[in-house]
């Protein structure tokens, strides 16, 4: 799958009401991008980039996106932020299901505003001539955007793509969090972009060996790619079952791609596996002796020469091996058994541990540890912190399990089963998930659908709550009172309406208007959240479901004729007072509503709160 980048640029991002956006097409050709914006300009394109290195979604950063003569072009900070957030929210449930975060965002510096004139439109369709200040480096809208995006998405790689002089803004863009500057007319445009993607991009593992596209995982892969360049020894940390060896193999592959055409050797060893008296011959090898008839043996380190030796669970390494390894790392030499002279080696050591190696009982040599992490430390997130990867992992593991069985059925995993798996903490991480799924496929060879009852693991006690895991986990955390089917919402309404404020209790309730108002808004927001949860569109490919605010509003208002724009207004009205504390579905719902109605005033009327005929 190609990485997907977001390009925020007035010229390339504008849509066209007639003809083509040839500037965008030419940019795509120069940087080897496939336009997947899906707007009219994208559809009208007559050009096909045959070997694209990335997909690009173009965003104008202004409104209207498709402008005509007489339209006034204004910069659109909130809409642009919403476009960024749509794919890249760190809170996993915010993103469209199964959509990886933006691999990178490219931002232009200068955005021209003002009314589109006949003359400016004739020259470049939909572009205004510009207003005073647009061209001033002190007030570039691109820098404002950069600041805002970096503020809400500090992990998102952002680079400047501009024809403006780099030196005018180099300090500002660095301060505001951009990672680089790509001139539009860079003669080696596609190579520059490829390099930037490699170093900074949030990219999935192209080999597919490491499955997942969550932000946490992609950040770990990026760290690994960067570290692979140094060829310094690396320490990989992560809980058991997180895939530390796979990450080590990824580092190895990335280094090979960087270095030369030849693959680098990769030799995995279990640090605990060496008996104390055999480690020297296993690690360093044996030189043959004709006189004594001793056969030679190539040691593991020698086998890894020119490449990487992966040492798993280094805390289990015997003390004697630690001492020998320290000498190897210090001197870059090994002395095979039976050899007279030490031999030079060129090996990078990739060590892994799931232990608190600095404070381990019995001790691990700190001097050895320092050398083993000379090139840096990589951390793999536990599965519970990348639960959005679970659907992809499930698909991969179930197919793998089916392949092991003759005439195995092609199974689907139900939405409920995925939700159940995502609700579990997975102390054994991916290894544990794999065991559960392989066992389920094996024990139920004749079923086409894996349902929760097929999955045997230490599941949470109240599985009835798992119809919407993100919602219920918040409930548990905050110990909220649930209104279930035995409770009548009318009773709640009556209760609220019966509340009175006695004048004898002034000290307690005085000065509480703001808090009371917020509590009321939060209650409404939870009501809306419940409606959003039950009206999500769930499909096999999108098991978490897609938020649909229109049906949710229809449900809570009872107004089946309410328009989508009025529904968006109502969502904004409910959620706007809570803007700073929104998360999950509600934040996404608010973002959607903002996008639908970027400038609508949230009116204080009640017309759309009322069902028709009520």
């Amino acid at each position: 799958m190609l990485p997907r980048i977001l390009v925020i640029d007035d010229l390339f991002g504008r849509d066209v009401t007639r003809g083509r956006n040839t500037a965008r097409e030419n940019l795509c050709a120069h940087f080897h991008l496939r336009d997947v914006t899906g707007d009219a300009a994208c559809t009208a394109s007559e050009q096909v980039v045959l070997n694209p290195q990335a997909e690009a979604v173009f965003h104008r950063g202004q409104l209207p996106i498709a402008a005509r003569v007489g339209d006034s072009i204004e910069n659109d900070l909130s809409g642009t932020l919403a476009a960024v957030m749509w794919r890249n929210n760190q809170r996993s449930e915010m993103r469209p299901p199964e959509a990886p975060p933006w691999a990178m965002v490219l931002v232009d510096l200068c955005f021209y505003t003002g009314a589109v004139t006949e003359e400016s439109d004739n020259k470049t369709s939909g572009m205004p001539p510009g207003s005073p200040g647009d061209d001033d480096p002190e007030s570039y809208f691109g820098l404002t955007l950069l600041d805002a995006i970096h503020g809400v998405q500090p992990d998102l790689p952002i680079l400047i793509l501009s024809s403006k002089p780099r030196d005018e803004v180099s300090l500002e863009f660095a301060k505001k969090g951009a990672l680089g500057f790509i001139p539009r007319n860079d003669p080696k445009g596609h190579e520059t972009l490829r390099e930037a993607l490699w170093i900074h991009g949030l990219l999935s593992d192209p080999s597919g060996e490491i499955v997942g596209s969550s932000l946490r995982l992609l950040l770990a892969l990026r760290d690994a790619r960067r570290a692979s360049r140094t060829l310094g020894h690396l320490l990989i940390r992560g809980e058991r079952g997180t895939g530390k060896e796979l990450l080590a193999r990824y580092v190895n592959r990335m280094s090979a791609q960087e270095g030369a055409a030849n693959k680098r050797p990769f030799v995995p060893v279990n640090s605990a596996a060496f008996a104390q008296n055999l480690f020297a011959s296993e690690l360093f090898g044996i030189r043959p002796k004709t006189a004594s008839g001793v056969d030679g043996k190539t040691g593991l380190i020698e086998r890894a020469n020119g490449g990487d030796l992966f040492m798993d669970e280094i805390v289990d390494m015997p003390a004697e091996t630690q001492a020998a390894m320290l000498r190897v790392l210090q001197e870059g030499q090994i002395l095979p058994v039976g050899a007279r002279e030490p031999e030079q080696i060129n090996v990078r050591f990739l060590s892994a541990t799931n232990a608190d190696v600095e404070n381990i009982n019995g001790g691990f040599r700190p001097d050895l540890l320092d050398r083993l992490r000379m090139g840096g430390t990589l951390s793999l997130p536990p599965l519970r912190e990348r639960s959005t990867d679970i659907p992809q992992l499930v698909e991969e593991i179930v197919r793998e399990a089916e392949a092991r069985q003759k005439a195995a059925l092609h199974r689907s995993v139900t939405v409920e089963a995925i939700a159940l798996l995502q609700s579990y903490e997975w102390p054994g991480n991916i290894r544990e998930l794999r065991s559960v799924l392989i066992a389920a496929v094996s024990r139920f060879p004749g079923v086409e659908h894996l349902v929760p009852s097929h999955l045997e693991f230490n599941r949470p006690k109240d599985t009835a709550e798992l119809s919407n895991p993100s919602w219920t986990s918040k409930q548990r955390k905050n110990e909220r009172i649930r209104l279930d089917e035995s409770d009548d919402i009318l009773a709640l309404i009556k209760l609220i309406e019966r509340v009175d404020f006695e004048s004898t209790n002034v000290p307690q309730w005085a000065n509480k208007l703001h808090s009371l108002n917020l509590s009321w808004q939060r209650l409404l927001a939870r009501y809306l959240a419940a409606a959003i949860a039950v009206t999500k569109r769930r499909t096999a490919s999108v098991p978490q479901g897609e938020i649909q605010i229109h049906p949710a509003v229809k449900l809570i208002t009872g107004n089946q004729q309410i328009t989508a724009t009025k529904a968006a207004d109502l969502v904004k009205k409910i959620l706007k007072p809570l803007k700073g504390e929104l998360e999950g579905d509600l934040l996404e719902a608010f973002t959607i509503a903002e996008r639908l109605r970027p400038r609508s005033a949230v009116r204080n009327d009640r017309e759309h709160d009322q069902p028709r005929g009520a």
């Binding site: 500037a23 050709a29 120069h30 007559e46 001539p129 061209d135 539009r184």
Partner: protein, 176 residues
């Protein structure tokens, strides 16, 4: 992205318009896209030679404006012009007799303006020659994509140098 008539009042705007809005943002990418088609990186509708001709027509239509920009740099970008407007125009008459000229000469020397304009003129000439070379190939109905790509490469390299050369010309009125 307006079409400007070049005057001393808008010389810096014209520089920005030509170098960034047109040459850097649009025209370079247009030529680069032609190269991509020639070497098979992209496919597109229409005849490649017609697309090249159209692009060269754009070049011929714009190069005179670029030449005018370069040629008027010394007269239109000089800080001496600031003495035509308040507050510097309020200087005493005897000062106005010598100070603007001094400021102008100092500006020419300190920022090596004459050298920069010479380099820009030379870059424009090289770019125009590269465009002519490409034009000749098209006129001779040479459909060899490798030769076309090579000629476009030369044009792109010349455009890059031209953009750099214009980029070195003053961005704003410089007194210091």
């Amino acid at each position: 992205m307006t079409t400007l008539e070049l005057t001393c009042d808008n010389w810096f705007c014209e520089r920005n318009e030509l170098n960034h809005n047109w040459l850097g943002s649009v025209f370079f990418l247009e030529v680069s896209a032609l190269r991509s088609r020639c070497i098979g990186e992209t496919s597109g509708a229409g005849c490649i030679s017609e697309s090249i001709s159209s692009t060269l027509n754009t070049w011929h239509a714009r190069k005179d404006r670029v030449a005018a920009l370069i040629n008027t740099c010394v007269t239109c970008a000089t800080p001496a012009l600031a003495f035509n407007h308040p507050p510097l125009s309020r200087c005493e008459a005897d000062i106005l007799e010598w100070l603007p000229d001094l400021i102008h000469r100092r500006w020419l020397i300190k920022h090596e303006i004459l050298d920069l304009t010479l380099v820009a003129e030379q870059s424009l000439r090289v770019a125009d020659e590269a465009a002519e070379g490409l034009d000749l190939l098209i006129q001779s109905h040479d459909s060899c994509n490798a030769r076309l790509a090579s000629a476009i490469d030369s044009f792109l390299a010349a455009l890059t140098e031209l953009s750099k050369a214009i980029g070195r010309l003053p961005k704003r009125t410089m007194f210091a």
